[in-house]
């Protein structure tokens, strides 16, 4: 297929996906299920964000949940300050602070009285943290598995910090009993279609925006860095700056997903930035296809969807983990580029069949002069 055609079909695929998720609530008339699907879509955003840094740039971020969690807490803090539960202290001090003998609201909670600040912080804080960490990692030429280890360590540190600072963060319990978000007169209830459209819309923007970035020259350089970062350096590109860009943008999107997750779950919890979730993102991304934003998003939706259904069905109550494990292994073994590569494989098979139907002459690869020449070439002397 010609590349221009390929790009057109891909864009069509993305748009089709967007349309499907946007009209979905019209078909489904069940608030409980709607809430469940919202969760899956949020994970889709999270997974697409990882695909941007891992699949496109080759930065395996095992601490993606840090950004997710920070976004989630930012939203929860803003919502908490607007709740009026029974045990609130002076000037609406959150209940868990009262229980922990905190007398006044800590300074870093103050600005969260404003939704605008909270939403800004939910994206900016993860980006800032990523920028800082990225600056040290990428300037220091840290690559591959070491990036994975450092980001994982970062995740554990932030997670412990949040659990440890119970006075300010709610510790193990997280931040619960939240009010519902009301913006511009629209209420974003966890079970309403408003929230669904907000989440689905965000996913569409992330997918299409991400696709647009990968089509720019910067997107091309990112992919070149994934292939061979040293070579890129000798063309005069500041590789660290490009890596940091991908790493930071990915963190910002994950923060956005975290904020939405708080709306769906109606609380924020340290489990949102725990190791199991963070590693799950990698699995979703790998199953769907890390080299494709939509593949990664679909991977998250499929895996979490199947997981949810299996774990609730009586037949698989005891064995659903085994079934999931078998699926992961099968995908990694037989489809290293993820489920999304099934489309490429199908298109290729279709083309081959069409060519055979045309007498098999048209597209048969011809023997190339250079291939012939290679057979008689002298061996490499030094490698």
């Amino acid at each position: 297929m010609k590349p221009s055609n390929y790009a057109r079909w891909r864009l069509a695929g993305y748009l089709l996906f967007c349309v499907v998720i946007m009209i979905f609530p019209l078909i489904l008339n069940n608030d409980y299920l709607l809430n469940k699907y919202m969760r899956y879509l949020v994970f889709g955003i999270l997974s697409a964000a990882l695909s941007f840094s891992w699949g496109y740039t080759g930065i395996l971020n095992l601490g993606q949940a840090v950004s997710f969690g920070l976004g989630s807490y930012a939203m929860a803090m803003a919502l908490k300050l607007r709740t009026i539960p029974i045990q609130t202290g002076a000037k609406g001090l959150p209940d868990f602070m009262v229980w922990n003998n905190v007398k006044t609201l800590p300074w870093f909670w103050e600005p969260f009285h404003s939704y605008a600040f909270a939403i800004f912080a939910g994206v900016a804080a993860p980006m800032l943290l990523a920028l800082l960490l990225g600056w040290f990692m990428f300037r220091g030429r840290i690559t591959g598995v070491f990036v994975a280890i450092i980001t994982l360590a970062m995740l554990v540190v932030v997670n412990l910090l949040i659990i440890d600072q119970q006075k300010y963060t709610g510790g193990f319990n997280g931040i619960t009993d939240l009010t519902t978000l009301k913006l511009f007169g629209i209420t974003f209830d966890a079970y309403s279609s408003n929230t669904y459209y907000l989440i689905a819309g965000t996913l569409c923007v992330v997918l299409l925006g991400g696709l647009a970035i990968t089509q720019t020259k910067t997107g091309l350089i990112l992919q070149a860095i994934r292939d061979d970062e040293n070579r890129v350096r000798y063309f005069g590109y500041d590789v660290a700056a490009y890596q940091n860009f991908a790493f930071t943008v990915s963190a910002g999107i994950a923060g956005l997903a975290g904020m939405l997750y708080t709306l769906v779950m109606e609380f924020a919890s340290p489990t949102f930035l725990a190791v199991p979730l963070s590693l799950s993102i990698v699995i979703w991304c790998a199953v769907g296809g890390r080299g494709s934003l939509i593949g990664a998003a679909l991977g998250a939706i499929l895996v979490t969807g199947v997981q949810g259904n299996l774990s609730e069905s009586p037949t698989f109550l005891d064995t659903w983990m085994l079934v999931m494990g078998a699926i992961f292994i099968a995908v990694v073994l037989f489809l290293p580029k993820g489920l999304i590569s099934l489309i490429d494989i199908a298109v290729e098979a279709l083309n081959r069949r069409r060519n055979r139907a045309h007498g098999g002459q048209s597209k048969r690869p011809t023997m190339n002069m250079n291939d012939v020449a290679l057979q008689g070439s002298k061996p490499m002397r030094e490698v």
Binding site: T216, A224, N370, A373
Partner: protein, 250 residues
Amino acid sequence: MTALLEMRDVHVSFSGFQAVAGLNLTVEQGELRCLIGPNGAGKTTALDAICGKARAAAGEILYRNHDITRWQEYLIARLGIGRKFQVPSVFKDLTVRENLRVAYCKKLGVFHNLVRGHNGDSVDGLEKLAELVGLKDELHRPARRLSHGQTQWLEAALLVAQDADLILMDEPTAGMTSAETHKTAELFNRLKGRHTLIVVEHDMGFVREIGDTISVMHQGRILAEGKIAEIEQNPEVKRAYLGSGGISGA
């Protein structure tokens, strides 16, 4: 006129081993300089020191009057120094066209390139370039599907697309047939004059075809320098190559 590149008493060592020890090398604008020498003479390390891959422990490297001895690789590249490595390295998952587009870039910042499409600037020039190296029909193919010879050609094209003033080549003909070697020599002679080249090479036939001035390295420093005929007669060079059948057998 001052020289384009000047290396003064450069030392590079790897955990105690002196790969380059007191190297002095001057290359003028537009020159095609061949760097030869027995294995372990420090030829590749000399190139590494120029492009920033290896840090010089002592001495200085001047390029257009900039002291680039301790510069970052990408800044050195931006000054106009390009490098081809011994093992062909192209971007395997990108198509030939995309490979060329990565190499061909005048503005190198993240945010500048964020507002530019994949197919923005002067696609024409790139197609002509692909034609020059015989890859015109392969533009849409991922680089991993190219043959070894084609990969070498693609890499040469990348260097031309980068349009570096000074091109450092490490064994450009390794693994090529004699016909391909000859074709490469033609390309080099075309580049000569407009670009300055430093070529590390073992193949003396190739050196004869392209070389003006040859610098012979031995044990990390320059042993001799001159035209090919002078070099072949030089008794010190003969001694350095002793055991490998003299210079022609190298």
